[in-house]
Structures are given as C-alpha cells and as structure tokens.
Amino acid sequence: MTEEFPPKAKQAEIKFSDLTPYDKALAEKAVKSKSRRDMLKLMAVTGVTAATAQNLISGAGKAMAETPKKGGSVRMASNLHGPDDQLDPALFTSTIDYTRGRATYNSLIQHADDLSPQPELAESFESNDDASVWNFKIRKGVTFHDGSKMNADDVIYSMNRHKGEDSKSVIKSVLASIVEWKKVGEYEVQAVLDGSNADIPVLMGLFQTKIIKNGTTGEGNGTGPFKMDSFEPGVKSVHSRNEDYWREGANLDGCEITAITDPVARVNALIAGDMQMATVIEPKAFRQIEAVDNVKLLSTPAALQLGICCLKNTAPGENDDFVKGMQYIQDRERIVNKILRGAGSLGNDTPISAAHGADFCSELPQRAYDPEKAKFHFEKAGIKSAELFVAPVTAGIEDTALLMQANCAKIGFDLQIKKVPTDGYWGAVWMNEPLNVVTWNMRPTANSQLAIQFGPGAKWNDTYWNNDRMGELLKASLSATDPAERHAMYCEMQTLVHEGSGMVIPAFSNINDGIAANIMGMPTVPLGQLGACEWPERIWLA
C-alpha cells in the first residue's frame, strides 16, 4: 500500500515508450508547441529530470513521425453488458453502447482531446449574435451503410427523437432548451432555442446525438467508420471497416466489442493477450499491469467525481453544519494517494476539476482534512450518527466511505455504511435516501456539469440544493464573452457549491483503462472510458 503512481523505481531509465498515453500526449504537445510550460508540465507529471524530459520529447518527435499503419483488429472488453445493450442512440447509457455508437454512427460534432467541438457530419456551424439560433451546414456525399444518402431530413429526424412528449431519450432534458429543429435546405438545419446557449455545438457531440436514418431506431445502420457485421446483446458485436467512408476512415480492418464483467478476469484477459483493450482498471490492479511489457495503463485526468450527496430537503443534510462536518472529515490526500493510488486529483466539494480547463476555480482555497473542525460542526449540528448508502458506482467510492467511517469513529461520530448493489441504485437509492453516493460522467463544459447537478430545479439536482444566484449565473455565464468576466462567474458558482450545497466531493478519479502496448494514436478525450470511446476511427497497431 505504499507505492506511488507512477512508481519511482522506473523513473531512472524512463523512455518514451514507457510513458502512459496521457504523458505521451503531453510530450507530443511539448514537441509541437516547443513551449517551456508544456515541458515543465511533462516533467512534473512524470517526475523526471530536464535531460530525461528532452529525451522523451525527441522520442515523441519520432513517434509522431511514424505514420499510422492500416490493418489488424482489436478486441475490447468493457465492464458491463447485458440484454439491455442498445443500437438506439437515444437509449445509450453504457460504455459498450457508446463504443458501438462511435464505431457505427457519426454525430454532427465530435470532441477533440481538448474538448473543443470539431465539425463531423456538420461541415460548419454558426449562431446568431446571442447564441439563440444555431445553423449547421450538413456534409454532402455521406451515405449510410445501406447505401442511402444522408441529408437534413435524417438529421432533423434524429434530433427530434430527443424532444417532445413521446420521447424516451436519455438526453431529453439536456437538450430541452432547443425548441425546434428547422430544415433550411437539403443540407442545412437550424436549431431554435428558448434563450442563449453557447454550448450547443458541444452538446451536439454527446454520445446519444448520433445521426440515424430517417424512420429507423438506428439498428446499426449508420454513416460511421465501421459496418456492423453482427450484434448479440450481452455477448458481443463484430465490426468491419466501412470502405465507403466519407473521410479517410479507420486504420483497423475490424474490431470486436464485448464485456468481461469481473474486474480481475478483465485484467487477466488483457495481460494474457485475449483482449487488446479493457475498460475500468481498478487502482489495485495497476501494479499487475505495470509489471508486464505487453500492456500499458491509460490514466486520463478527468472530472469523474467521487460524490457524497447530503440531501438538503431532509435531515440530516438540511443542517449546514452537518454537511460541513462531512466535508472536513474527508482525508482527501489519503483518498487520492492510497485509495486511487495517485490516479486522481483532490476534490474541493465542487464538481469542477482542473480537467475542465480555464473554468476551474484554482483560487478557491482547498478544503483540508480537519477532524477538529468536523467534530465542532457535528457537535454544533447536534447530530451523533447517520447512515450512508453506498453502491460501487465508481472505483474507490466504497473504500472512501470506509475511510470516512473510521475517521468519524475517531471523533466519536457514528457513521453507518449501508452497502447496496448497483442495479436498481439510480431508481431506488440515489436522490431518495438522505445520504448516498454518486458519480457523474464528466460533462464537456463546466456549465453543463454545474447545471445538470446544481441548477435550481434541475431534474438531477441530486442534493436538492436550489440557489437563485446559481441559476442567474448559470444563465449569464453562457453569454459571457470576456474571459476574465466569465472566469469570475464560474468561480462564484464553484464557491457557492463549495460553501452552500449538500455535496461532498473529496476526490476526482482519473479514467483508467488498459490497452495493448502496440496500440498507437489513442485519443485522450476525458469524457468517458478509452478516450471517450473515440478510439475506433483513430487507433492503429504498431
């Protein structure tokens, strides 16, 4: 339990090929930009000397010079699957669905590694002055796998499935601000909003916004880089390269997508070479992966929160001092270093992490582990015991709860942990029991991350904390164009959540996956496992 991440012993003779893809990306960035800041960042992350960093950077230069090779295929093992595996993008909820969606379909927009929205099936996009009407020019000459042409009708049909009374879409409320989709021409559509929203392009890149053929529910017939050869829910799907793709397309000849639900078996299959990619590597398996040469760990910093919700509309969370006690009893350093084995970052009881870039409020003082203060607040609240419902919704959350329980016991507070299974958790426990745990996939913008969980009256306001100022800022920040003004707004919002909400966020987990060492060109989009499932079109085998 004492090793650090990455292990110190390896650093003496560290080579470019030893780096995790994230570090490689850093090194490549340092080469491209020739910037001292990027180089210093690389040195800080990998913990190497300047001389070594120079070597790494030349290695990165070499790797970049290598051109992607065509051919080969990979098998990916996700962590969950079952009879509810979907080909209908509107119902995608798991990594395995997202990956199949990424291989089979396209969206109007896709996210780059730095989360900027890039045109995909939309050739270009623009808005009016107050960002309340958005126009998307649709790419011409794109065909579905069945040979039919894709045009504005397909786009409007696909988008309308997320709205209206009979919509069962997972992102219905996320896209609720879009009042109407209008057809402007054969290859142009327009989204009319009920107000300003500068984030619309980013939202058009969500996993569920795939464009499907007019009148269908997806059914595996998309415009994407891979055709679907077979699909068995809960077993596997087989994909082969779409040779008629509208852009250069995939390097792989094919891929097979399956899941191994047992975490130990998943790591073993990766190491034994039966799988080339495995999602959700638990921190306790890091050492096993680092000990072998044929696989590498992909640890991408992300705002994947380990959240503890104290409901503000009921006891004990309605008492502000109780929440403060829960926040001060978090031994955040220990959670990151021991439970997450370094593959994470400190949380400051807000859902925004450094992974959100400029909108992260680094000025907000970090809340530290302070049992005395926790004791003071618990006593002031007059509460001596509480019951926390915990399901393994994300890596490390159960251990975090147990650590919290032990630290609470030291100050004479009786925290009971009620362990429950994940199935049924979201309907029966989350947002119902007064104290429960939560995690959220990282959202592409700080605004959507804050709005989904802390917007007054938002559907998934999971601490029932309604703050009017928060609502005003969420709206105003969407049209703020001056960077300083925008940052001040986001800082105020994070301070509001940090001070007043019922959320306890001691840490953020990295996204941890394992891939075969010969997989190159791995994306690092932090919005989901395996580079937010962007890999099918981008990776190649060395």
Binding site: D84, P233, G427, A428
Partner: protein
C-alpha cells in the same frame, strides 16, 4: 406401473413449473426499480420513464402481465426482451447451445472419471490412494470455484500462456480451437463437480458393503472386485445417479460464476443479467428452462434407480 409413475411425475413437473413461474414473477416484482428505470439509469426522468413504461406495457397491473405472459408461453411464444427489444428465443438460442456444449463436455469427462475413481477408492479402502482421493475431494469441495478458476487463469494463461484466459468465442472456431477456448472453464467445472460425485460413489458402495448379503458373498469367497461390480454397485446406483443428476442440473443452471470469470455467454449469466435489468420475460424463460432441466434429470435418475433395483418397482 412404470409408465404410470413417469406420467404422474411429468404431471407434477408441469405443476412445479407453474408454481416456479409465479414465485419468480413475484420475486422479480418486489426488487427495487423496474426495467424502464434500469434502461434509463441515472438519466431517468418522470416523463421519459412514463413513455418507456407505456411502450413496454409496464403500466398494466401485474396479474394482467403475468397471465398474458403465461398465455403466450403456453402457445410457444417466449416474447421479447423488455430491456433490449430482441426476441427472447434469439437471446436464448445461442446461449442454450453454449450451455449444453459446456455441460455436455464436462459431463463426458467428469462422470466416467468420478465413478471409476470412486469405485477404485471403494475397492481399496484405507490405502494411500483412497486416502489421497479423499484428501483431494475434500479440498476441492471446500475451495470456492472462483478461486479455482482464477488460480487456473493465473497459472495457465497469464504465466504460462498455454490457454486463453477467457472462453471468448468468435463463432467460427474449428474443433481444436473450440476445445482450447473451452479448456479452462471445463477444467474448473470438472474439478468442482467431480469431487462430490467421487465421494458419493465411494460412500454409496462402502455403505452397501456393510450389509449382510455382501458379508455372505465375502464368506462364499467371491473376489472383492466381483462383489463390488456385480452385487454392490447395482444396489448403490440410486444415490449415485441422483448425485450425478443434481450435478448435471447444476452445470446447466448454476455455473454463473464460471461463466462470468471466463466471459462465457451461457444461460446462467443470461438469467442474472435478466434479473439485474428486471427483464421479467427473460428471467421467466430462463427459470422455466432451469426448472424443466431439474424435473427431467431427476425423473431420469429415479427411473434409472428403479430399473437398477427391482425392489423399488413394488413399493409396499
């Protein structure tokens, strides 16, 4: 006499199936959350839940859903999966084949192996071989199967690279490739089920060996080997066949841990997935298959023990 017994047992079997389906229906219904909530997960809202529930027919009262399922089932229609929309027969079809393939291969190896090892141990009680068989079977019975499975994976796949770590089937394997892919789960299951059958065979034979007619045979000077094979085995066959039947039924319905560890798409895992997604028609269909397997195998075991033991044909 025999036909009457078989017919009566089949009748009881159908009643059992009906009762089991009712219990499974009620059991799955009291689990928290329904299939609509599981599909939409964390992203569920009241409106989307209502739309999805209406689409899946979950807005109807429970007894209506049960009887419409029963009606379809009797007419041979297993229905469609509530969770994914695929037809249940298509979900079950390939899985049933996989399960039968695995159970068949395990049975083919483990039954002759355990019965002969059990017989051998019974023929030479107290020898070092008997003692080591007893020691081995007791050890494997006490060790959980996920431990055996994980240990085998670590040694044979991760360290030695002899066998694949998962029983992943692409669907176009040749016979040898198929055997290689299935070798590890088969080995695990052979170890797990053999122990019990070996012990039962040995104990059953030794039990009969203490009866007076065996003593008579010994006094006549019949060789021990002949006593066991001609006189003891036939009388001990009832309990042995029953243990074999129970183990076979276990191989069809109870191997979910092995299926999970080796990512083998079998029926047991399908049923667990069905429970986790609250996919009632799927759970029901699997339950019917498992229950039917038990009914049929136990029936066969009873018929076999009656055939082997004439006394049972004329109950007092």
């Amino acid at each position: 006499m025999m036909t009457q017994m078989v017919l009566r047992r089949i009748g009881i079997g159908f009643v059992t199936l009906l009762v089991v389906s009712l219990i499974v229906f009620m059991g799955t219904s009291i689990l928290p959350g329904d299939v609509a909530q599981i599909i939409l997960g964390q992203s569920a809202t009241e409106e989307t839940l209502a739309v999805l529930r209406a689409e899946l027919g979950l807005d109807q009262p429970g007894y209506v859903r049960y009887f419409s399922w029963l009606g379809n089932m009797v007419s041979g229609d297993l229905g469609t999966s509530k969770a994914g929309g695929a037809s249940i027969s298509s979900l079950i079809d390939s899985r049933l084949g996989n399960t039968m393939k695995m159970a068949g291969l395990v049975a083919l190896i483990s039954i002759p192996f355990s019965v002969s090892l059990g017989l051998y141990a019974a023929m030479h009680p107290g020898t070092w071989l008997d003692r080591s068989v007893t020691f081995m079977t007791l050890s494997t019975i006490s060790v959980p199967e996920f431990f055996i499975a994980t240990l085998l994976v670590l040694i044979l796949a991760v360290e030695l690279h002899w066998l694949p770590s998962t029983a992943y089937l692409s669907g176009n394997e040749s016979g040898v490739q198929l055997l290689k892919a299935l070798a590890m789960p088969i080995l695990t299951l052979v170890i797990v089920v053999s122990a019990q059958m070996i012990r039962m065979t040995r104990a059953g034979i030794l039990n009969v060996m203490s009866s007076p007619y065996i003593e008579m045979a010994i006094l006549k000077g019949v060789p021990r080997r002949r006593i066991i094979l001609r006189h003891a085995l036939l009388n001990a066959i009832g309990p042995i066949v029953n243990v074999i039947a129970l183990n076979l039924a276990y191989l069809v319905s109870g191997v979910v841990i092995v299926e999970t560890i080796f990512a083998y798409p079998g029926l047991a895992k399908l049923m667990i997935d069905g429970v986790q997604t609250r996919d009632l028609p799927l759970v029901q269909a699997c339950a019917m298959i498992f229950c039917g397997t038990y009914v049929i195998l136990i029936l066969i075991a009873d018929v076999a023990s009656i055939l082997a033991n004439p006394r049972l044909r004329h109950p007092k």
